[in-house]
Symmetry: C2
């Protein structure tokens, strides 16, 4: 299907927007009036600019508060027809009236729209009438359609907008009652479920399909069943997108439409990962503070299990938990701050299929310099720059056997989850990336108090052993781009006891006040207090966890899941953040 986007969805001047949208591969644009008014180019030149970029101008929008007024202002509309002729646009969006002067009469609205449509016809223009969710009288899409039907003019149809329909909780199945050729346009956006005034919700919190909670694909399916054959067009008002890079947001919008189409075709994700193959830490050279990391890993029970033959990379392992330590001093001097999480390896049932799928979703596949004897290992870049590798087991063969064999104790059995700090304004992009490119399922978005702000946090899970936590720190006191790797313990209490005895200072101290409160709420093992273990429970089970101090940009969490607990101990995050801040100030 053709893909279009409203210029309001991305930042910048109109010419910047057109360039960004074309570069992302869109076929057309809706020109948002405000973008045209602020543009120094005359409409004729905007038309040429779009054509040069290979973009059609699919709609000009919006015309407001025109129908069902006590007096129809035909002159104003004629001026817009004139503008559209210069712009080369032949479809005009008319939004349902919000004026307090509007008359509550479908007949009057239809009469006005019929008159405007007949005038439009003289200019070769068509009008798409849309019900705004907050329209004064017309705020349901089926009422807008009834008025269009009543007006009965070939140059008048309806425009459907997923936000206006789904935000009100209207059932989109009614779309199938509209003849496809009378659906002149289909605008798509998603949104998180927020209990707020629908106008504010619409103006600030829309996002691309797949980033929110609406079933946008289901709505599109109804429109296709009705016979709609026009473009899928994104129209998003979002405070973050407004401040973000236009090219990046446009590309993300295109990714959302591609994923939506794949969903409509019933394509299952070809290669949902089965587990963590490894996590790779950069900045681990001795000049980069890697010594502290090696000491901490040794304390945690990791052993050096191999080294890469041609690269300054070591494999450290314990049970099924594998970490790559990459001395990046030579090629990434920016990692002078010490160890940082730079890559994640995922066990994939079909690495080649996973990469192909990622490419279909516009993910940048990273070039790999490789010597002939190395295992092929392809990676894509996640929105925060972390490299995601799709692995089978061949990669392990690259690492020469270590001088010491991994010991048998294996306190820690595998990587439970990885938490990544996301760049501002791109949180929704990250959620869409992990959902569509990796096939993970988003969980609820949380806001956790930090001593200097809030931490927005959203977990993504494969439903199996791959769990990622995306964090966005909205804090005032300096930047805290902490990342962490959570390791699963066989017996957390025993591990904690050993670490306290043998490695004082490695674990984050937890305030006694926390335990006074915990013990008031739950009957818990006194060892939790003694060992500084945090605790959570839900209906499915229990969660025990603790943290190491931060080394460079990274710290480790050790967790133990008891029963069917599926969370991440978010209730304890404020405790952890406060202690971390106190330590870094």
């Amino acid at each position: 299907m053709r893909k279009s986007i409203a210029t309001v969805s991305v930042s910048g001047t109109l010419t910047d927007k057109l360039a960004a949208v074309a570069a992302a591969g869109f076929d057309g644009v809706e020109i948002f009036e405000n973008d045209l008014l602020t543009c120094p180019l005359p409409p004729e030149e905007i038309r040429l600019r779009a054509a040069d970029l290979g973009l059609t101008i699919d709609m000009y929008q919006p015309l407001r508060d025109v129908e069902a007024m006590p007096v129809l202002d035909v002159r104003r509309v004629e001026r817009k027809f004139d503008l559209m002729r210069r712009l080369g646009a032949d479809l005009l969006l008319v939004c349902s009236n919000v004026s307090p002067l509007a008359v509550d009469s479908d007949e009057l609205a239809a009469e006005h729209l019929r008159l405007l449509a007949s005038r439009a016809a003289e200019h070769g223009i068509r009008i798409a009438y849309e019900a705004l969710a907050w329209g004064r009288h017309v705020n349901e899409y089926l009422r807008a359609w009834r008025i269009v039907h009543l007006a009965d003019h070939p140059n008048l149809g309806t425009c459907l907008d997923s936000f206006h329909i789904l935000s009100r909780g209207s059932d989109p199945i009614g779309i199938e009652a509209i003849p496809g050729e009378k659906i002149f346009f289909l605008q798509l956006s998603d949104a998180p479920l927020l209990a707020m005034d629908v106008l504010q919700w619409s103006r600030h919190h829309r996002c691309f399909p797949g980033q929110g909670n609406f079933d946008v694909a289901g709505l599109v399916r109804h429109a296709l069943t009705a016979g709609y054959s026009g473009p899928l067009s994104l129209e998003v008002f979002n405070d973050h997108f407004r401040q973000a890079d236009a090219g990046r947001i446009a590309r993300d919008g295109m990714r959302s439409l591609i994923a939506l189409e794949q969903g409509l075709q019933g394509l299952a994700h070809p290669a949902v990962p089965m587990g963590f193959a490894f996590a790779e830490l950069g900045g681990t050279g001795s000049s980069q503070g890697g010594g502290s990391l090696v000491a901490a890993l040794s304390a945690l029970g990791f052993e050096r299990a191999g080294a890469h033959p041609t690269k300054p990379v070591e494999l450290w392992a314990q049970g099924g938990a594998r970490l790559l330590l990459h001395d990046t001093a030579a090629d990434r001097p920016e990692q002078a701050d010490g160890p940082a999480l730079i890559a994640i390896g995922l066990d994939s049932p079909d690495p080649a299929g996973a990469v192909k799928h990622a490419e279909s979703l516009l993910s940048p596949v990273l070039p790999r310099e490789r010597t002939p004897q190395e295992a092929p290992l392809d990676a894509v870049a996640a929105p925060d720059g972390t490299e995601i590798f799709f692995c089978d087991t061949a990669w392990l063969g690259d690492f020469a056997p270590a001088t010491t064999a991994p010991h048998e104790r294996a306190d820690l059995t595998h990587i439970d989850h990885v938490a990544l700090t996301q760049p501002p304004h791109y949180f929704d992009e990250a959620a869409l990336f992990y959902r569509t490119v990796l096939g993970l399922r988003p969980q609820e978005s949380l806001e956790l108090p930090d001593p200097y702000g809030l931490l927005r946090s959203r977990a993504m899970s494969s439903g199996g052993d791959v769990r990622m936590v995306l964090n966005l720190a909205q804090v005032g006191a300096g930047d805290t781009p902490w990342q962490h790797i959570a390791l699963a313990a066989r017996d957390l209490t025993a591990t904690a006891r050993r670490l306290h005895a043998e490695h004082p200072g490695l674990l984050l101290p937890i305030p006694a006040n926390y335990y006074d409160d915990l013990e008031a709420r739950h009957d818990v093992d006194p060892a939790l207090r003694e060992l500084g273990i945090l605790y959570d429970r839900d209906e499915d089970g229990e969660f025990l966890h603790l943290y190491t101090v931060t080394i460079g940009r990274v710290f480790f969490e050790i967790v133990q899941r008891v029963g069917g607990y599926q969370g991440y101990g978010a209730v304890n995050a404020p405790i952890r953040l406060a202690v971390q801040h106190a330590g870094s100030h």
Copy 2:
């Protein structure tokens, strides 16, 4: 009255919070449970720390979901009593239950609270029961009071919270029906009127009294009438305050309570300014790019009207519009970016009274080095650092007569308004400062689209000739800390015609597309298009305005108000912002 504040209202660790609150002059604190749980100090030491700072611990809060449960968890509450004993707190806040398990029975709630109050009495503790606005069954303050009355225990009273009462639209007059001695505590916060879920509204958008739209003072008056004699205590949850400096926010909270008290005493503002005496531009030295400014001012019709005898300051004037040009190269080398607005002089009916009033509201009075023959001129610092001078006419005598007399043409008659860019997180502080310290009245807060984000804008007006516009740029593409001075023109069309003819390039070009739209909406003089004049109208009159290009950090607007128009042409701000961004990129 005693003044208190909940620790949740400011950022940082508990010990940081206590220090900031004490420094701001508060008498006591409410300890918010989460702040205690994350604190490494034991309660005994927190108690000592507060005492050392001269702070009483007025309340420990909150205990949630305890009353009217199928089973009363006395053990949990006893643990809190134990904690409070260690902390030296004798008042516990119990919030109305939000659990789905809560029983809808006032009798059961009263029975539980009576039992808890009798246990509390054994520890010398009292309980204040509060209706949360989103309580499961108890969400009205009079219902909470009915339960307290029913329980009838001397150690049980009610806590009133202005947010929980006013956010639901409850009439606070009912407070007078509660015996003053049963109002154990009074929590105060304000909020902007937002149509959103009350829980989200409460957790993110509360502000200090006088910063929002609630009549907090009216509510306090009812409590005082009822006989309440406890502290006025601030309890604010605000995303900006969380990220801001604790000391600054605490001081602002204290300012809000002082202003509230002054209002209760019926004190009118002693010295609302009558007009702009001057605006002062720093960074005007020849090495600072002052040449461009002088050229622009000359073009606008300003003439050099005097010079300060001892400081590198010149007076430039035209009609009643006066600008001071300050060569700050020697003492403020940071103004190397060129001209910037650094001070505003206000015609005050009582400069000494105005300064005294500002001091009473904790505004920093600035030291003035002065030679004996100079006129006294006192200034306070506004939240963004701008110096505000309170003037009578004596200051003009400091400026030696200029070599050229001001000419008679005087296209521009006076300063209409001044627009200042506010620092992030302190927008509410600025509104409170201008309202209380200067006696200006806030107008509606607007959000205006910028090509790279949003501009939050709020005008403050004396009702007469002093108008300030506070802007907060929430934009992604670089920082745009533009300030501007709006000058009133006698005949804007004539002025614009002259400037276009004599000074091409001085005025900001306005896109022709703007006029196509304007002319579709209104019958306007074709000269607007020809001269690049922006236009707005409302029920009271018309507004014509245009802008100069930016010089350093500042630009000039020229305005003409026709009829009773009181706005600022906000509808045209997106046009201006887009043109300015296009010019600066």
